[in-house]
Amino acid sequence: MRAYKDTPEILVEDSALSPVPSATPPLSLKQFRRITPRGGLLDLNLREVWDHKGLLYFLVWRDIKIRYKQTAIGAAWAIIQPFMTMVIFSLFFGKLARMPSEGLPYPIFYYTALMPWTFFSGALQNATNTIVENQRVVTKVYFPRVILPLSAVLSGLLDLGISFLMFIVLMLYYHVHFAWTILLLPGFLLLAVATALGVGLWLSALNAIYRDVRYVMPFLVQFWMFASPVAYPSSLVPERWRWLFGLNPMTGVIEGFRWALTGRAKPPGGLLVASIGIVAVIFCAGLVYFQRMETTIADVV
C-alpha cells in the first residue's frame, strides 16, 4: 500500500498555492456542480431531468424507429398482438368458459383490457432491460439515468395508439357506441404509465445489479396478468377479497379502460382509489430507490 502523502500535490504551477483558494465562478451558478460521495435521500434532481428532455425525445424516437426495422409488416404488429390475444380469449374464456362480460360482446370486452395490458407488459419489460441494454452509454456518458426507463415506457404509447385504431373498427363492427366517459381515458392512461414506470424503476435498477430479474420477468408478467381483470371481470372476485384485488394498480387501469371506453360496466370506484394510492407509493419509492442506485449503477452494470 502506498504511504499517505501529507501534502497532496495540488496542480498549481506558479499561481498562488493557498490550500483553499476561493473560486470565482466565471459562469452562472446554474452551471455549478458539487460532486460528493453520496447524495441526500431526496436529492431527486427532477430539474435536471427536465433539462434533458431533448435526450428523452431522441431515445423515445430511437426506440420507435428501430422497433419494427427489418420486419416485413412493421407497425401492424402493434395491432396483431392484442388482436390475436383477443381472438384467443374470446374463443376460450368467452365461448367455451362462458365468462361474464358485463353485457359487452366478448371481442370488445377483451380488447378494452388487452390494449392497456399489452402496453403495460411491454413497457415494463422494456424498462426493466433498458439499463442493461444501454450499458455502454451508461458507463461512458452522464445524464440522469431515470431518462432510460422513462423513455422505454413512453415509447410504448405509439403502439397503444395504433392498436386503438383497431378498437375503433371493432366498436363500429359491434355497434357499440363511445360514451362521454371516454374523456376520462387519459387519466387511466396516466395511471398505466405511472404503474409501468414505478415498477420499472425498481426492476431496472435491480436488473442492473442482479441479472436474475430478467429470468423472473416472464413469470411476473404472466402472473400479473392473471391477477388483473384482463380475462375476467373484477365482479367475479368475491366481495371480501376485493380490497386485496384493488392493491394491484392494473385492476384500476383495466376496469377504468373498460368503463371509460364503453360507458357500460361499473365505474371502478373504491378500486380506483386503492390503485392510485398504491401507485403513488410504488412510484415515489421507486424514484428514491432508483436515484440511490443511480450512483452505483455505472460501477456494477
Binding site: P8, G54, L55, W61, V141, D212
Partner: protein
C-alpha cells in the same frame, strides 16, 4: 485574469475487486451465504482496491491539461468522477460550467439507423440540442468526410467511417469544460491530424480541457501542463516538457520490458531496444521522412554465438507482412551489439507498423521480439482520397498529360 473552474479535494474511488467487471447474481450471494452462514451478515471479505486516491487538483479557466500514466493508474476513473458518471468514495469536487465527456467514440450509435439519424442521436446523448446539431450539420458532415453515405444505415459503414462520423459529432461539442479520454487514436493518420487540429482549435477558444492520452506528441502539442497518475495518485504535476521528459525516461520508450512474454529462451541473447536512428527520445518511433531511414536494434549476447541466423520482419496494423529479411552466419561475441538497417526510403502508407526481430542458432530460436512501441509512419500521404483505394504503398508519383494539339 483566470478563475478556478475545477477544484477537487481528496478525491478517491474504491472498488471491490471484481465488482467492476462482473455483476452479481443472486445465486452467488446465496452460495456464499450457505457456505458460511455468518458471513452473510458481515460485509463480504473481498479485496478492496483504490482506483483513485487522494487526488487534489485545481484547474483554471481555459487551461488544457494532459493526464498521463500507465494503464490502470486511474486516469479514466478521474474523468468518470469529474463528469459524474460514477461517484467518488471520498473527497469532493466543485465544477463551474457545462461539462461534456468523451470517453469513447460513437457512444450511443445504433447500427440500424442512418448516418444522419445517428448524428442527432449521438449528439443528444453527448449533450447537444437538436437545434445545435441542425446548425452544425453541414460542418459535421464535411468534417467526417462521409457525405455520400449520410443516409445509409450505419451497419453498412466501414469501421473507419463510423469512427470518423462519431468523432465529427463529438468534435463539435461546445461545453465550457471538456474531458477527453484517448479518443484521438481513431482512424488513419490523416484523420488523426484533422482531429488534433480540431482539438487545438477548441482549446484555443478558451475552453478548459482535461485530456488523457498515451501519445506524447499529442500531449506536447495540446497541453501546457501535465498530471502524471501512478497507482491512483498524483505522482507528478507541472509543465509539460519537464514532466514528459521524466515520464518517458521512466517508461523507457522503445526499451524492452523484460516481463513481456516472448518466444525463445533468452539465455544466450536478447533484444533490448529499438529506435529510428537519429531521432530524439519520445518520438523515436515516429517516421516522418520519405528519405533515407535507419532502424537501430540493440541486442545483448550473453554468450558467444556462432552460426547465428538473424531475421527481421515488418508488419502493418492488420498483421500483414510488409517485408521480411534474414541474414545467415551471424557471429556475435558476448556483449552489446547494435544492428543497423538502412533503407533508401520506406514507402508505406501512413499508419502503425510493427517490427519483429529474431535470433536463431542451429534451428533453435534464442529470442524473438515483437518490438514495442509500434513504428508510426507519419509521412505525407500520396494517395487516392478514398480509403479503399489507398493500397499499401505510399509512393510519390509524377503525373503529367502529354499529347493533343
Amino acid at each position: 485574469m483566470s478563475s478556478t473552474v475545477i477544484r477537487a479535494e481528496g478525491l478517491g474511488k474504491r472498488y471491490r475487486v471484481g465488482e467492476r467487471e462482473r455483476y452479481l447474481a443472486l445465486r452467488d450471494i446465496l452460495t456464499r451465504a450457505l457456505r458460511s452462514p455468518l458471513s452473510f451478515f458481515r460485509p463480504a471479505q473481498s479485496e478492496l482496491m483504490w482506483a483513485l486516491r487522494d487526488v487534489c487538483l485545481q484547474v483554471e479557466h481555459g487551461e488544457v491539461i494532459g493526464i498521463i500514466g500507465r494503464n490502470g493508474s486511474g486516469k479514466t476513473t478521474l474523468l468518470k468522477i469529474l463528469s459524474r458518471i460514477t461517484r467518488p468514495t471520498t473527497g469532493s469536487a466543485e465544477i463551474y460550467g457545462s461539462v461534456r465527456t468523451l470517453l469513447e467514440v460513437g457512444t450511443g450509435f445504433h447500427p440500424e439507423l442512418t448516418g444522419r439519424e445517428n448524428m442527432y442521436l449521438s449528439g443528444a446523448i453527448l449533450g447537444m440540442s437538436r437545434r445545435e446539431v441542425d446548425r452544425k450539420f453541414d460542418t459535421i458532415v464535411a468534417f467526417s468526410g462521409v457525405e455520400r453515405f449520410i443516409d445509409t444505415p450505419l451497419k453498412h459503414f466501414s469501421t473507419g467511417m463510423q469512427m470518423r462520423l462519431a468523432f465529427a459529432v463529438a468534435a463539435h461539442l461546445e461545453p465550457d469544460i471538456l474531458f477527453v479520454d484517448e479518443v484521438l487514436a481513431v482512424g488513419d493518420l490523416e484523420f488523426q491530424k484533422k482531429c488534433l487540429g480540431k482539438m487545438e482549435e477548441v482549446s484555443g477558444s478558451g475552453r478548459t480541457i482535461l485530456f488523457v492520452s498515451h501519445q506524447m506528441n499529442q500531449i506536447r502539442r495540446l497541453c501546457k501542463r501535465v498530471l502524471w497518475l501512478e497507482g491512483g495518485e498524483i505522482y507528478r504535476s507541472g509543465p509539460t516538457a519537464a514532466i514528459l521528459g521524466e515520464y518517458e525516461a521512466a517508461l523507457g520508450c522503445g526499451q524492452r520490458n523484460q516481463n513481456q512474454r516472448s518466444t525463445g529462451t533468452r539465455t544466450k541473447a536478447r533484444f533490448v531496444r529499438w529506435q529510428i536512428d537519429g531521432t530524439e527520445s519520445g518520438s523515436s518511433n515516429f517516421l516522418t521522412t520519405m528519405g533515407a531511414v535507419t532502424i537501430r536494434v540493440q541486442v545483448e549476447a550473453l554468450a558467444a554465438i556462432r552460426n547465428g541466423l538473424h531475421g527481421a520482419a515488418l508488419f502493418n496494423g492488420e498483421r500483414q507482412l510488409m517485408w521480411g529479411w534474414a541474414k545467415e552466419n551471424v557471429q556475435l561475441d558476448p556483449g552489446l551489439h547494435e544492428f543497423y538497417y538502412t533503407f533508401p526510403t520506406l514507402p508505406l502508407r501512413p499508419g502503425p507498423y510493427s517490427w519483429q526481430v529474431s535470433l536463431w542458432e542451429n534451428g533453435k530460436v534464442l529470442d524473438m521480439w515483437d518490438c514495442v512501441p509500434d513504428m508510426i509512419i507519419a509521412t505525407e500521404g500520396h494517395q487516392h482520397p478514398q480509403d479503399e483505394w489507398n493500397g499499401i504503398l505510399n509512393v510519390p508519383c509524377q503525373f503529367e498529360i502529354r499529347g493533343g494539339n
